[in-house]
Subunit: 154 residues, 2 copies
DNA sequence: CTCGGTGCAAAGCTTTTGCATCCGC
DNA sequence: GCGGATGCAAAAGCTTTGCACCGAG
């Protein structure tokens, strides 16, 4: 569930981004943005494409790819490569920065926050003289709980 | 340059791994291991395949893929997905654990070490009750040096 | 009216798979 | 000799590209 004002805010951000880059504000672009912000969790291009087709919205995969690139550019969407050759996406406006832990038994993706990553980013940036803008941290491990749901579905 | 004894050690480790898993010790598998440990830096499957073909070694891509999986299994090789849809590999025996910083200007990959990542791994593992085995941390940023070589090649 | 954006399908690339042959055990 | 491993090529799967048409500015 996304609050109405969140949707309005991201639309404004996207619109500003498009204007800055002198790109057209097409209905497809905003429809894709809306669809993404109505979804929870991670999704891939095909899932997004299918869910729009299911709603009888006429879009092409090419436009979905194109628009996702734009949304990643303006930080409204985050792109992940969880070790597979399938890009996963996630809405990112108004959500707390987080990283991912992937279960090596069942590939389920868990989220966690750790502020120390920010320190590492700063230290390494200073050391190598880079302005570090963002990062991707993925931990891989197996669940230690007995009768863990992950073991069952593995 | 890899010391002779390093090559001997990794061969022994690979051999033990194959024996444990009841897999055959084929000449192709060891030839691929040797080729990898004679290379520096990151490489992709195609580069490895071509460099073996150039030496007139008869291998197929299928065997290269198969063998890389085995080498990743026994931690002699690390697999990376640097945001592209192209897996990158790196030999990993006898080399210090490190992570990567990718220049957003030129895509050059830099390496760095930070022991604090280990702490994060431990904390998160305890918190979520996972036995965290390994991780992937990638920082993205642009070089702040004026006249940086990265700017020039961008 | 212009030309960037879209839809559709074909092409491109990396990776996987099927099958006959080969060879480690 | 058996059955796993290989080579080759075809197939699969995700992403990009070419082209004609559409519609935002």
């Amino acid at each position: 569930m996304v609050a109405e004002d969140t949707l309005e805010e991201v639309k404004k951000i996207f619109q500003a981004h498009l204007e800055t880059k002198n790109l057209r504000k097409t209905p497809e672009r905003f429809a894709i943005l809306e669809e993404i912000y109505s979804k929870e969790g991670h999704f891939d291009v095909e899932a997004l494409y299918v869910s729009m087709k299911d709603k009888n919205y006429r879009v092409s995969r090419a436009t979905v790819y194109n628009t996702l690139d734009l949304l990643v550019d303006c930080d409204l969407v985050t792109k992940h490569q969880f070790g597979k050759n399938l890009a996963q996406f996630e809405k990112s406006y108004g959500f707390r920065q987080h990283d991912h832990l992937i279960c090596t038994d069942c590939n389920k993706v868990h989220e966690f926050c750790d502020p120390r990553i920010q320190n590492i980013q700063n230290t390494v940036g200073q050391l190598l003289q880079f302005n570090v803008l963002h990062h991707s941290l993925i931990l891989y491990g197996s669940c230690t709980k007995k009768n863990c749901e992950n073991k069952l579905s593995a």
